[in-house]
Point group: C2
Chain length 232, copies 2
DNA sequence: CGTACCGTTGAGCAGGCTCAACCGCTGTGG
DNA sequence: CCACAGCGGTTGAGCCTGCTCAACGGTACG
């Protein structure tokens, strides 16, 4: 659908009484953005931009999953966020991207020049407010990430991570897609990949989850699952 | 100065070629915000709002330091961010504050109703873009926080924390104010307060920093200091 | 001067990291 | 068709660092 209407943005709206995540943009706004954006395809694993390079473009995801990450001097890699359909990224400010972005699955993106978007925002206050909502929403995501990684125990972090993925999963109830590698998950969670693997095995062994293949998890015991996720 | 001109916002501006943190608002905008905001004083330690309560107001800090935190079921407390002059907070969305806010020092705030601010933003696209810049800036801060807490070693985390405080310190070069308690710092860093204490002692013992009282740190060996902060 | 709070220091324990071997699937070339 | 290498993932052994529990020290305030 997005393919025809132009990009959307997903977030909770401003102000009271709106708890649901909804598409933010009006039809007019979507077609307006579509008119200043071009569509691009990236195969799995392709780098979209590199940390430190000139930040000329802003992206909105039409479909697929992107990871945003930063490589540290030690060679370690920190995944800062996973991005899904209707997420915005590349709003880097100050001319350089602060991190790198890479396609995890095949990805379709809307791409527009920073300056073009800035003009559009300055002409359309409603549009600017929508973007504001979106970024506030993302900041909340960043805070949740912080809460996750400050947990001590690997099982707890992984469980919260699964819960987070579940909200972005389009599978049926209690089935969660793990589209990224264990390494990516570990880099997001601030754990070693072994710790992630052990935590998943642990959850499986205690009958809380089951694997259907290596990339799909089924939640068997929702009560204990939620208890672990909440107990920190 | 802010007292007379109305609130400001500090962030890097949108687009290329602007790397500096600057006041974002025009005089007109500052007086406009001042006209819809009221000024409030909070003594040290006072709670500004509580997590889960009705989010009716948005705040801009005129002076002082605020911490934003969340209490977990286990009784542990996570400090999500420290807020300084010209920072905005309370943009909670969906009607309820996601976390609590408390004054660490005596604080002066501009306060405005969410709905009033939303109206102002929808009428003034430039103003909305400025807020957008601000929130993007804050999101970058949240990402830096995430990078800090995913470090393994306490000394490294504390050093990065000192570096962060230095940027918000109004003391002269190489002197850093620690306005918050060790407990607050520990809750921000995801460490026990003992670990924070030991890390600071360690830095002092190795001659990298020195204490002038318990709340002011002087950086003695900038080279090693930066090396520790960068080495992760 | 006593009390309370904040901070420092010490001893022992636990959980995650590192190093390393092994497993299973995939793609490739003989 | 099979052998092999390569990659992603799992599992095991030992170490290291930060947590917990606990006692002590110093400073502010009544």
């Amino acid at each position: 659908m997005s393919e025809f209407l132009g990009p959307s943005l997903r977030a909770t709206v401003f102000g009271p009484g709106a708890k649901d995540v909804v598409g933010l943009l009006s039809l007019r706004q979507r077609s307006q953005i579509a008119s200043i954006a071009t569509s691009h395809q990236f195969p799995r694993g392709e780098l979209i931009y590199r940390e430190g390079s000139n930040a000329q473009s802003v992206f909105i995801i039409a479909s697929g999953i992107v990871k945003s990450f930063r490589d540290l001097p030690s060679g370690k890699r920190r995944v800062l966020t996973f991005l899904f359909a209707d997420d915005v990224f590349g709003l880097a400010q100050s001319g350089q991207y602060m991190n790198s972005a890479q396609a995890i699955t095949p990805v379709t993106l809307y791409r527009m020049r920073v300056s073009t978007l800035a003009d559009a925002l300055r002409r359309d206050a409603d549009l600017a407010v929508q973007f504001l909502c979106k970024v506030v929403h993302e900041r909340r995501g960043a805070l949740r990430h912080t809460v996750i990684v400050t947990r001590r125990d690997a099982v707890g972090r992984v469980t919260m991570f699964l819960r987070l993925l579940e909200q972005n999963s389009d599978l049926d109830k209690d089935r969660i897609d793990l589209p990224m590698s264990r390494v990516d998950a570990a880099n997001y969670l601030g754990l070693s990949l072994e710790a992630v693997s052990r935590a998943l095995s642990e959850l499986e062994r205690s009958g809380i989850i089951a694997f259907e293949g290596r990339r799909i998890v089924r939640v068997l015991d929702r009560v204990r699952f939620e208890k672990i996720a909440a107990a920190l």
